[in-house]
């Protein structure tokens, strides 16, 4: 993985491996963005602790309790983090959601 400092780091979490892979690929189509995809809460928290993310995209299949716990963890540890519920699954909405969130 070739990460440059100027890229916006985006954490993508979703339970569907193929859709997660698609979302990560589509995010990375924009050279200004770099996505890290995680299937589990544990992976997501480990990545979050290791790396400076500007945005978290919550994808499909995440249980409500998990989603609440993840949001709490991210907000407590990085109050300015943007957290967006991603709809559509690697669809035409992705870029607009990211642009809207990070300005």
């Amino acid at each position: 993985m070739n990460v440059t400092m100027s890229q916006t780091q985006i954490l993508v979490i979703g339970r569907h491996p193929e859709i997660l892979q698609t979302v990560v690929r589509l995010v990375n189509n924009n050279p200004s963005w770099n996505a890290t995809g995680c299937l589990t809460d544990q992976e997501a928290i480990a990545s979050f602790d290791k790396q400076e993310f500007a945005l978290v995209l919550l994808g499909g299949g995440i249980e409500e309790e998990s989603e609440d716990a993840l949001c709490r963890y991210f907000s407590v540890n990085k109050p300015d983090i943007k957290i967006v519920q991603h709809y559509g699954g690697g669809s035409g909405l992705l870029s607009a959601e990211i642009f809207s969130a990070i300005g």
Binding site: H16, E18, T22, G59, G61, Q85, Y87, G89, G90, L93
Partner: protein, 238 residues
Amino acid sequence: MAQTILHKAETRGHANHGWLSSYQSFSFAGYYNPDRMHFGALRVLNDDTVDAGMGFGKHPHDNMEIISIPLEGDLEHKDSMNNVAVIKNGDIQAMSAGTGIYHSEYNNDRASQVKFLQIWIYPNKRNVTPRYDQLTLNLADRHNKLQQVLSPNADDAGVWIHQDAWFHLGKFDKGIETDYNVKKAGNGVYVFVLSGEVKVNDEKLNTRDALGIWDTDQFKITALTDAEFLLIDVPMSF
């Protein structure tokens, strides 16, 4: 007092991929306009033309209610729930992507284009079990009256989706008018003109123009010429 927003046809986004021409009422893919993100729970209204023999390869969706309304030609749908179907003018198809689904859509006709509306509505519940529904509508039921083609209720007319949304189609002769009663408090209606000219209260709309109207219980639609239109009644907050 009713609030309105006018979206003239020529202000829509446009993507030309050679095989696909897509006019986009709201930000989609390469078209990003922060002022055109959604109308309430209505997130996507793409007016697509697909060349003969071309189509959308297998691709995923989740957590979206996806409705297709063919206007001309036939579109073949295949999905990861083993549904294989052809939708044609007069049909409506609804798909709840929920926890995740793969599908493809192809124009298998080697000679003719397909024109269809692709409409995405935010669901009122995330991570539902994916489902697919398709219905052939009786075209006579929209002549000079409103035909309900979608609702939130499985036992109501038309297909159903996971949202408090209602769609109606109308094919009115010149001079016909009707009142539309908004289906639920807090909902707004996106009026999209498929052909001809209509007036919504005092606002004149041409082909492919749209008017969003909310904070009202009722409005009047008048056909200024022979006209066809789609009403998308959706929650403004969701």
